[in-house]
């Protein structure tokens, strides 16, 4: 476990304790929200765990490299985009899986494409349309999809720049 992670955890924990001391009512509301959020994401976390076990057991590094690795090109980008769109739950539950895929050779740019396409939430599309209209929804989601490909390319290139 990284020291920086423990430091961050400790910092947030201290903030929460301070919040409880100086603003107990709001802090209590905050904890209730966090608890409800934790309960909501627990099943998704379990699904992510099963997907991780599947990928570790079934999918080897060569498969990852072939389909979403450095030489996968546009095909790999589209695969990453589609899986990003299909993934559900908060973004942070997917980080451990993406870290494993990264170790197995998934292209950095494709990871960025996966994360960016999480902005397209198909199950929430009817709700989005009811708030903002269908033309706006189409404009936003098409823009996000196209931007994700450029986003992935730029992130990949910027990661190569030596500081």
């Amino acid at each position: 476990m990284k020291r920086s992670s423990l430091f961050f955890f400790g910092l947030v924990l201290l903030s929460q304790i301070g919040y409880l001391v100086f603003a107990p009512v709001q802090a209590h509301e905050a904890l209730q929200y966090s608890f409800r959020l934790g309960m909501r994401i627990a099943p998704i976390f379990a699904i992510v765990y099963l997907v991780m076990v599947f990928f570790d057991y079934v999918v080897d590094a060569n498969y990852i490299k072939r389909h979403v690795g450095k030489t996968s090109g546009l095909k790999g980008a589209v695969i990453a985009a589609v899986f990003g769109i299909l993934s559900s739950g908060p973004i942070y539950v997917w980080y451990p899986l993406l870290a494993e895929l990264q170790k197995k050779g998934m292209k950095t740019g494709h990871i960025a494409i996966f994360l960016y396409n999480r902005a397209i939430k198909l199950p929430l599309l009817p709700l989005f349309i009811s708030y903002f209209g269908i033309m706006y929804a189409i404009a936003v989601f098409v823009s996000v999809f196209l931007a994700s490909l450029l986003n992935g390319y730029l992130v990949e290139q910027l990661m190569k720049v030596k500081l």
């Binding site: 920086s4 451990p96 931007a147």
Partner: protein, 144 residues
Amino acid sequence: MRNMDYVRLQQSGFRSLRSLVHFLPVLIAVILLLGMLQSVMDENLYRQFFVFSGSLQTVSGALFGSLLAGNPITSYVIGNELLLSGITLAGVTAFLVSWVTVGVVQLPAEGQSLGLRFALIRATVSFIFAIVIGAIVSVGVGLV
């Protein structure tokens, strides 16, 4: 063969569990942070964030959305309220896009799993793209 497969499956299970356990403190911290953020945000604060007018609201929108996180449905509700209160479509679009693509709150978690350099570069590029998408979409929708 069946025994070897079971052993491999068990090893996969342990490896994956270890990855998740390493990630757990950061995940808990992000959840606590989201709770604290949620408790201090109210309607008046949303509108006050958009102090600039015109095209600069795109930057405000992207900044505001980047700092917040949570269920996207919340961003739709807030976005709709912002539109009704007179915030530009470009500003609201940048807000909606940055809410799900940037996420300052989860940066530590992303940095821990995927590398801090990747997390910072991706967040910066995504922030700029939220502004660009906000501008493009509002012009495009205006033309239709």
